[in-house]
């Protein structure tokens, strides 16, 4: 087990080095975050912003508290409207079902709108394995698909790509130089996608939310591709996580107010689409068949646990846009579908802690994510809880355990503490006087590789206090302790 975890730590470190060493990437992530913060700052300063977040948290908590009821209500309403519902217990079941739907209809080309849950279940690979061409039609996803990469960010999948990189990807695909003008590049993508929309036999979308009271699937999009995917092909398949419901349309109000601002910095998105069943008799457009695949894949195990609140997530990406760790390591270092603070919690819960053993520890617990979360999920607290689980499951390094147990044993014995402190201070002074010599070595190596270690003062505070009857003898605030 130790060997496995060492290998995974090495792989994690290598991904971090790759991100930190990529100057262009560093710039792009920081600029992206700063841009989002500037856009969202006015909204956050509004007095009713916290109230909207409270309302979202309330709606999501209510949904999760009675999820069984809302799922049943949603499913029966989808069926009443003429749709078909399939419950997938795990990723494999969901994949098999969608592949069977495609094969049963002789589908050769599928257009997709952006969906994280289809990334989660590895749907594209399964469909391609069955000989079906799958085209991502969200511009960011289209770019990421051409690059054979995972989304870098849950809302902005290609945020890490420079214009030049996108130009190269498009030019390779086109077999000609598409030019460096962003409008020309977009025109190229639009041209390719337009043909795919008309030729596709099946459209696959995610769902921002399902409305239990009506059986409607609500999509919040900006590019218009979502509407093409869900109306042009004969068959529309919705893939959604089982938790992504709201009780009623009224419950969407706060979410639709916050999601565009928190997600892309806009007051509203270009499109909010509510799909209620397939095309009905006499209607001019819409798919002939609507299938809704409701995916559990580990979610019901989270329900009722100490992590339940993570299921309140509305996938706005606000935590990624403020996280100082994501700012440095970016999305791909997480090696997970869900990245950033929400990914650091959700990915280990969905895939197993052992698969993402480093993620809960790759946080300074600064709390920025908890502060901005649109659904008021205490993300930093959940990250800390995952650390407790790592320790309990024996996934954390044994050396740290010994260290903390030892520290606790001493800390609970003040006299022993004082004695050890008395003995350790001269050694620490000596070590820090050694300065450059010890740089990057010894027990403080990880610290001193990048930072000086402070030179302790001659005496501890405790010792000074003991002599405080003669305070002139002790250190004063004007005396410098550091070297």
């Amino acid at each position: 087990v130790a060997g496995v975890s060492r290998a995974s730590r090495q792989a994690f470190d290598a991904r971090i080095e790759r991100a930190l060493g990529d100057e262009a990437l560093q710039k792009v992530i920081a600029e992206g975050q700063d841009y989002m913060q500037a856009l969202i700052a006015p909204a956050r300063a509004q007095p009713d912003w916290p109230l909207a977040l409270d309302e979202i948290a309330r709606v999501r908590a209510e949904t999760l508290a009675h999820l069984d009821r809302y799922v049943e209500q949603f499913a029966s309403n989808v069926e009443r409207l003429g749709g078909q519902v399939f419950f997938a217990a795990d990723a494999a079941e969901a994949r098999r079902h969608v592949v069977a739907l495609a094969q049963g209809r002789g589908v050769r080309l599928i257009v997709k709108s952006k969906s994280m849950v289809t990334e989660e279940i590895g749907l594209n690979v399964a469909l391609e394995g069955a000989g079906v061409e799958v085209v991502e039609t969200d511009l960011g996803e289209f770019i990421v698909q051409l690059a054979h990469e995972r989304p870098f960010h849950i809302v902005a999948p290609a945020i890490h790509k420079s214009l030049e990189q996108i130009r190269a990807l498009f030019s390779t695909a086109a077999g000609r130089d598409v030019g460096g003008d962003p409008q020309a590049m977009t025109r190229y993508a639009r041209g390719v996608l337009r043909e795919k929309f008309f030729a596709a036999d099946m459209g696959i979308s995610g769902a921002n939310f399902g409305v239990a009271a009506t059986g409607s699937v609500v999509l919040v999009t900006n590019e218009g591709n979502g509407r093409m995917v869900t109306t042009l092909p004969r068959t529309h398949v919705v893939v959604m996580g089982v938790e992504r419901l709201v009780p009623s349309f009224a419950d969407l109000e706060a979410i639709l107010e916050v999601l565009p601002r928190a997600g892309v910095g806009l007051r509203a998105t270009a499109y909010v689409t509510a799909i209620s069943g397939p095309r009905r008799a006499g209607e001019a457009d819409g798919p002939q068949e609507l299938h809704v695949v409701i995916v559990d894949n580990g979610r019901s195990a989270i329900l009722g646990s100490k992590y339940e609140q993570v299921l309140s997530c509305i996938r706005c990406g606000a935590c990624l846009d403020i996280c100082p760790v994501y700012r440095k390591i970016g999305g791909h270092a997480y090696d997970a579908v869900y990245t950033g603070p929400i990914g650091a919690v959700l990915s280990p819960l969905l895939d197993g802690l052992a698969c993402h053993a480093e993620l809960p520890f790759a946080s300074s617990l600064c709390g920025a994510c908890s502060e901005v979360c649109s659904a008021r999920i205490p993300l930093a607290e959940l990250i800390r809880e995952l650390r407790e689980d790592s320790v309990e499951e024996g996934l954390a390094s044994p050396a740290w355990g010994v260290g903390f147990e030892g520290f606790a044993a001493v800390a609970a014995r003040p006299r022993l503490w004082s004695a050890l402190e008395l003995a350790a201070l001269p050694l620490l002074r000596l070590a820090s006087a050694g300065g450059a010599l010890l740089r990057g070595r010894g027990p403080l190596g990880a610290w001193t590789r990048g930072r000086e270690f402070p030179r302790p003062e001659r005496r501890s505070f405790r010792a000074w206090w003991g002599r405080a009857s003669a305070p002139a003898d002790g250190p004063t605030s004007r005396e410098r302790g550091g070297g």
Partner: protein, 236 residues
């Protein structure tokens, strides 16, 4: 509350805090049984070890009327996490009570003592690092800024991107040293942008991280806890 780090490495900060509190008419005691609040173990996922440490801490401060901490994150540990750590245990009532009477240094000066003015002079251009736990867990943001506003001669320049973590994060600074160093590098860049000659903070752990990186990069800015600035510039 001097904190384990303050006791072992930064005695001067505790001494300064004692001086300031005494000058403000507070009777200061240092219960000798105090060691650590348990935060390092708690944040690293070792709840049982943290609880052992925190239990000793509860006993050490059982008789104290107010507990003043020279570290925002240690104060936050007691105020926010102790009640959670001891929920449903015999120590719960004591933990909740101690949480209510524990304060970060600037929070105590402003919110408990109601300090309006200070006879403090310091001629410097200074910036302030709002530590994350001080800001987000304690909600202490205005207090240190208002105290700095009372210091004659001090030109205060707010730190841009002050909401960004310095990268300390306890064991994180060592366990994820590369990420931590990249984070503190950006913090150092922002500090240098201000042109300040003095960096002030409320938590020696963050300041140790920031100062350590500043020094490694060859910068000689002065790095001080707020208590040191107040004690050193106190007139009379």
């Amino acid at each position: 509350m001097i904190t384990c780090l303050g006791d072992a490495l930064f005695a001067r900060v505790g001494v300064a805090a004692v001086e300031v509190l005494r000058k403000l008419g507070v009777a200061v005691d240092f219960p000798g049984q105090q060691t650590c609040c348990g935060q390092p173990a708690y944040n690293a996922g070792y709840a049982a070890a943290a609880r052992d440490t925190a239990r000793a801490f509860l006993q050490a401060f059982a008789a104290s009327e107010h507990v003043v901490s020279v570290s925002g994150s240690c104060a936050a540990m007691v105020r926010e996490e102790f009640p959670r750590l001891f929920a449903g245990r015999p120590e719960e009532a004591a933990a909740v009570a101690l949480a209510a009477r524990t304060f970060e240094f600037s929070q105590f000066l402003m919110d408990v003592l109601g300090v309006q003015e200070l006879p403090v002079v310091r001629h410097a251009t200074a910036t302030l690092h709002h530590s994350c736990h001080t800001r987000r867990l304690l909600g202490v943001v205005a207090q240190p800024e208002r105290l700095l506003g009372m210091v004659a001669g001090l030109h205060y320049v707010p730190l841009p991107h002050s909401e960004l973590c310095c990268g300390f994060g306890g064991a994180f600074a060592v366990k994820m040293a590369r990420i931590s160093t990249a984070m503190v590098d950006e913090k150092v860049d922002r500090i240098l942008d201000t042109g300040a000659g003095l960096v002030i903070g409320l938590d020696m752990s963050c300041l140790m991280n920031i100062e350590g990186r500043l020094r490694r990069r060859g910068h000689h800015l002065e790095v001080r806890h707020l208590a040191e600035v107040l004690a050193a510039g106190w007139q009379g």
